[in-house]
Symmetry: C2
Subunit: 180 residues, 2 copies
DNA sequence: GAAACTATACCGTCCAGACGGTATACTAAT
DNA sequence: ATTAGTATACCGTCTGGACGGTATAGTTTC
């Protein structure tokens, strides 16, 4: 079998960061978690920085893929992009582990490594600008979504599940132009 | 002058994390930035973990202090806590560097170190629950604020300054019960 | 005289990255 | 069909440097 372990390594790195902390993102730890030798790891990612760059790109690709899938499920053209953004990171079905580990590892070396992810989010926000609804409302919805997943990332839980459901419900109805 | 260099060290650590990246949060780098000998640094913080814990506590104290100051400036009782929360991290006058560095350094070792900050935010959110306005609206406002400052922390800028001003203006009016 | 340092030396561990080697598959000449 | 060569995908060890922490002796400030 001649399959690359690249993706296995990236997923192992995500696991290491989220369970052990970003400081434990060492080449040895990742190699061990991915059940790859250190040489094998360095074959795919020649430096630690290259590994982190790959984690960021991988997270970006995952987001774009999921975003499209959620978009395709929605029929109502009004506020469609905005609802998609909201569901992207706040739906219980999706997990954001790749995104979280990308942000954590980007912070390790320097935030410049996060540029690809920033571009990704800029594009998603841009889509909500022409969404047949008030742009200010659209941005408010996106920012609430951001607040929710960022808090989840740091394991802060300022809003309980019941309130979270109410908030999302309210926002979804607003994107459809329904009154409260 | 017999003043403790504790706070200088904490602020130096913040500078190191935000300018050099969390991986450069080493005892040597902090000592150098704070213009303190390594012995002096270890006199105040006997381990690196103790330093990080102190950074988190310091950030918490700064937030609580600023929150109170902003609250005192507001006269309108309706939605006062909610508006205070919004202004806390999104006002151009405040800088959130201590908060950002606390989160970054907490992610380094493990997120458990961030518990004091979580409690802090839980308390601030709790205050908005009895704020003479719809609790769902109050939470939405807080989450938008979170989205804004988290994005700022990662140097993501999905909303430009003009839009940001519109959003904040809209939310402030909502907390006062004004219609759009 | 105690607290708050400075200055320096040192130790053990960890870690990034280099390096040389191995196994397998495919390709091209003979 | 066999041989030789090449590319890919790894393995496992080694080394030099950085880092966290200890220790110690001395200095300044209150």
């Amino acid at each position: 079998m001649r399959s690359s372990k690249r993706v296995h390594i990236l997923e192992a790195a995500t696991r290491v960061i989220l369970s052990e902390g970003a400081a434990q993102l060492t080449l040895d730890a990742v190699a061990k978690e991915a059940q790859v030798s250190k040489g094998g790891l360095l074959y795919h990612f020649s430096t630690k920085e290259a590994l982190i760059e790959a984690i960021v790109i991988y997270a970006k690709e995952q987001i774009e893929k999921q975003f499209q899938a959620i978009y395709d499920e929605d029929d109502d053209p009004r506020g469609r992009w905005t609802r998609t953004y909201l569901k992207l990171t706040c739906d219980d079905r999706t997990n954001n582990n790749e995104l979280y580990s990308a942000l954590f590892s980007g912070v390790l070396e320097n935030r410049e490594l996060l540029r690809p992810l920033e571009e990704c989010f800029l594009q998603l926000y841009a889509k909500t600008e022409n969404d047949q609804i008030d742009p200010v409302l659209a941005n408010i919805v996106c920012l609430v979504a951001d607040g929710l997943w960022y808090n989840d990332m740091f394991q802060f839980n300022p809003v309980n599940d019941e309130m979270k459901a109410k908030i999302i419900d309210r926002l979804i109805r607003l994107t459809k132009g329904e009154s409260e």
